[in-house]
């Protein structure tokens, strides 16, 4: 016990953080992932076909936030200005006018009409990672696709974990008849063919990311709830739960303060796998064409294109690297997180 005196005054949260940091790989992964994710959140500023700021005749315009007709810059059309058009470009940069452009002048949907090579075009100084079969910049699509995948995975995991814990906790804590009934319902529910439902729903409704989240959430919680249920069943007979009952704690408080923290092992252990599983689910559905609509940037769609254009190595290789890199980072972070949550580890 003598060597624990040196962190006597550290709060529990602080000690968890120290444990997390002691796993170097996980710690570095967290940094790399956070930076990448943060950058991707600002993808509109970094990857856009519209300038961030335009000064036209001493007046300031913010094209990436607001849509301006071409006439605003002295053009001919009432429609929104196409800033990649050399004519418009000339208008906003002539004389005292100036424009600040994003880092990469392609959004995920921008088609590079000025490409000299047929699409898909290999990497060039214009399109760093080439273009896909419709002439859209692969780099931009990757970044937007990464963002969508990660956000989707986080949302799906959060919902799945929340429902899973809730259902498992109720079953495990109250057990008996309620547990029996819920267990049977879960068995029936789990035997529904998920993929068929997705195909059916994709033909009834307009496919969208929200539809996918709802459908996948409806089925994604069951694996976890079984584990949480088992942990609660085991925990409810422990003496510390009895002590809390003797103290007069309510059922809710016992579940939240005593059983839940002691039942988190399966939740935390599966967390990285759930997140990467969600990313893979979205990617494979997109790959099969059952996922998000084709204009939405997605990794799965890029992979499908790579399969269709097997000679365009930049499509499949770059997507592959992004996908594997993301999954690996998440797994490493999850590993460190698991160690951080273990209060018994020094």
């Amino acid at each position: 016990m003598s060597n624990s005196t040196n962190h006597v005054h550290l709060s529990p949260g602080r000690r968890s953080w120290l444990r997390f940091r002691s796993n170097r790989r996980g710690y570095v992964s967290l940094w790399v992932f956070s930076i990448l994710f943060l950058l991707s959140l600002f993808a509109e500023v970094l990857f856009n076909d519209k300038p961030l700021l335009v000064s036209y005749q001493d007046e300031l315009f913010f094209p990436f936030l607001k849509s301006y007709p071409e006439t605003a810059f002295g053009g001919d059309f009432e429609t929104e200005a196409d800033y990649s058009d050399p004519y418009v470009r000339d208008l906003i940069t002539a004389g005292d006018n100036w424009a600040i452009d994003p880092l990469i002048r392609f959004s995920y949907n921008t088609i590079n009409f000025s490409s000299e090579l047929p699409n898909p075009a290999p990497p060039s100084s214009h399109n760093l990672l080439g273009t896909d079969d419709r002439g859209r910049d692969v780099f931009a699509r990757l970044v937007y696709g990464f963002r969508l995948s990660v956000l989707f995975a986080f949302a799906l995991t959060a919902i799945g974990v929340a429902i899973g814990i809730l259902a498992g906790a109720v079953q495990g804590y109250f057990s008996g008849r309620l547990d029996l009934i819920m267990q049977r319902i879960i068995e029936v529910w789990a035997s529904m063919p998920e993929l068929y439902l997705l195909i059916i729903f994709a033909s009834i409704f307009q496919p969208s990311i929200w539809l996918l989240i709802v459908l996948l959430s409806m089925f994604g919680w069951m694996g976890l709830s079984d584990y949480v249920r088992a942990e609660f069943l085991r925990g409810r007979n422990m003496d510390y739960v009895r002590a809390a009952r003797a103290m007069g704690q309510s059922n809710m408080a016992i579940m939240r303060h005593h059983l839940l923290p002691n039942s988190m092992t399966p939740v935390i252990t599966f967390l990285p796998f759930r997140i990467s599983g969600s990313i893979l689910a979205l990617t494979s559905l997109d790959f099969l064409g059952l996922g998000v609509p084709p204009t939405t940037p997605s990794l799965g769609e890029l992979l499908a294109q790579g399969k269709g254009n097997i000679e365009a190595w930049w499509l499949s290789l770059s997507t592959f690297i992004v996908l594997v890199g993301t999954l690996m980072l998440l797994i490493f972070i999850g590993e460190a997180l698991r160690e951080a949550m273990d209060t018994r580890k020094r």
Partner: protein, 532 residues
């Protein structure tokens, strides 16, 4: 008693851990003669079991190192023996029985098959012959109806029978040395007695030697010819049993002998004010069978018990495992459903619903037996001790709460530094102190002490008992003291209730019941656990 059977010479054992090597045994030397009973006595962590396991080299070589020492058996040094050679010795020449008979028997095989295993292995017998021997062995260790019992699975036997089966297994190949590692710790007192008698008889018949590992000095006095006292990996004293108890030379031995629970009955006159009064308490558990879960019978865990607890008094509840003493305690605090009347001061709590009980819960608290499972491993000591305060004294602000937690911790003998740590960073005794702090901080009237010291070493047990009686006087607490250990009950209680199979056998002032028992059962209990 002449020939040296096995010689252990300056044995050292270290455990390899990530934080460096830990010396568990530091140069231990002792001999065992043929037909001799040697006991190694020590508290947990003294290295006694490690020493015993080393004789058979049962440690995992990845984690254990033997830097020094020799174990001479049959003019061979076992330290130099290879794994194949050791396998030949294990179970045949030297066999071993363990503490927990439930986990040391394989639950998926009948006991007979497990006994046959060693016979088939070492004596190259065929199965039918081995089976015959197995039945003989079961008969010899005093299991009735060995013909039937040979096909029983471990869970179908009682704790005592399981330990007997273990002994039968160990005896199968007529070993010259039997190592018994805490063979009776998990058993009831009366059964403990029987098992020791059995070991002694068998030893007389077969002429084998026995090495007994235990923490219980009393066991040793009755059993061993020679005693080695171990402390922190060393043998501090080695003497014949009669000599050691008459004249302990080393101070640690004296300390161990002194740590008998001394009478601690708080000197306050228990008032006539009744705290809890219960009439005709019954707790029946239904036995259900079949597909429709039809009720086919009942287990009468607590059967028509009247009990009364006065202010400032300790009421001991004694009985063997399964006698219903814990269930009774839990029923009195409304932790399990029961029928009958329970009065707590002016509240008729037997009529209260769970919601009505909650505000009253502050007045009755529980300290459990196992300090490792009674504290949530994911909460700091501050959270554990402060939890009840938040609930029952919501008017306290953060600093007031903090002060009160620190004061209570000091009261139970822990310092402020404990606040931020997790339970696993404390020893068993300290954990039990935390569990006590969690209860007294709420200023309860009644504390149910459910075997509060059974999981602790004797010396720690003494300290915890001292703390409990101190707190009792200070706060005028009433204790319901549940224990199977009559010595502890005698030391702590004003009155005592003896339970058996859900009923009260005898009750009254502690002296009268334990020293002049009127009932046969009480007499047996008292004899088994009180007479040295």
């Amino acid at each position: 008693m002449s020939e040296k059977l096995i010689q252990v010479d300056s044995l050292k054992v270290t455990f390899k851990t990530q934080g460096g090597d830990i010396e568990a045994v530091r140069g231990v030397s002792f001999d065992i003669n043929t037909s001799e009973n040697v006991a190694i006595v020590g508290e947990s962590g003294s290295g006694k079991s490690v020493t015993a396991l080393s004789l058979l080299k049962l440690h995992d070589e990845k984690h254990v190192d033997y830097p020094d020492g020799r174990i001479i058996y049959n003019s061979r040094d076992l330290m130099l023996a290879g794994e194949a050679e050791m396998r030949d010795i294990r179970g045949k020449d030297i066999s071993m029985i363990f503490q927990e008979p439930m986990t040391s028997l394989n639950p998926v095989y009948p006991v007979g098959v497990q006994i046959q295993e060693t016979l088939v292995l070492h004596k190259k017998m065929d199965r039918p012959a081995a089976r015959k021997i197995a039945i003989e062995l079961l008969d010899r260790v005093g299991i009735r109806e060995p013909q039937q019992k040979v096909d029983s699975f471990p869970h179908m036997l009682s704790g005592g029978q399981r330990q007997r089966a273990m002994i039968a297994m160990a005896l199968a190949c007529d070993p010259v040395l039997l190592i018994a590692d805490e063979p009776t710790t998990a058993l009831d007192v009366t059964v403990q007695h029987q098992i020791l008698e059995l070991l002694k008889d068998l030893q007389k018949d077969t002429g084998m030697s026995v090495l007994l590992i235990t923490h219980d000095l009393h066991l040793v006095r009755r059993f061993a010819d020679r005693v080695c006292v171990m402390y922190e990996g060393e043998i501090v004293e080695q003497a014949s049993s009669s000599e050691l108890f008459k004249q302990p030379r080393h101070e640690y031995t004296q300390y161990l002998l002194d740590s008998e629970p001394e009478t601690r009955i708080a000197e306050i006159v228990p008032t006539d004010q009744t705290v809890i009064k219960a009439d005709a308490i019954r707790v029946y558990f239904p036995i259900r069978k079949g597909f429709f879960k039809r009720k086919v019978g009942e287990v009468k865990a607590v059967d028509d018990i009247d009990i009364e607890l006065r202010l400032g008094e300790t009421l001991g509840i004694v009985g063997e495992s399964g006698s219903g003493k814990t269930t009774l305690g839990m029923a009195l605090l409304r932790m399990v459903d029961s029928t009958g009347q329970i009065r707590f001061k002016e509240h008729q709590i037997s009529d209260y619903r769970e919601k009505q009980m909650r505000p009253l819960r502050r007045f009755f608290q529980i300290v459990f037996q196992d300090p490792f499972s009674s504290l949530s491993p994911r909460m700091t000591v501050e959270q554990i001790v402060g939890e009840g305060l938040k609930l029952h004294y919501p008017e306290l602000n953060k600093t007031q709460r903090y002060d009160r937690i620190v004061n209570t911790l000091k009261e139970v003998g822990l310092d402020e530094g404990a606040l931020w740590r997790y339970p696993h960073e404390f020893s068993g005794g300290q954990r039990q102190r935390i569990a006590v702090a969690r209860t007294v901080i709420l200023e309860p009237d009644v504390i149910l002490l459910d075997e509060p010291t059974s999981a602790l070493d004797v010396s720690v047990q003494k300290q915890v008992l001292g703390l409990l009686s101190e707190l009792q006087v200070k706060h005028q607490l009433s204790y319901l003291f549940i224990s199977h250990d009559l010595r502890v009950v005698r030391a702590m209680s004003h009155r005592v209730v003896v339970m058996r199979e859900g009923k009260i056998v005898e009750s009254g002032p502690v002296r009268q019941v334990l020293e002049n028992p009127r009932k046969q059962y009480t007499r047996e209990l008292a004899q088994a656990s009180l007479c040295p």
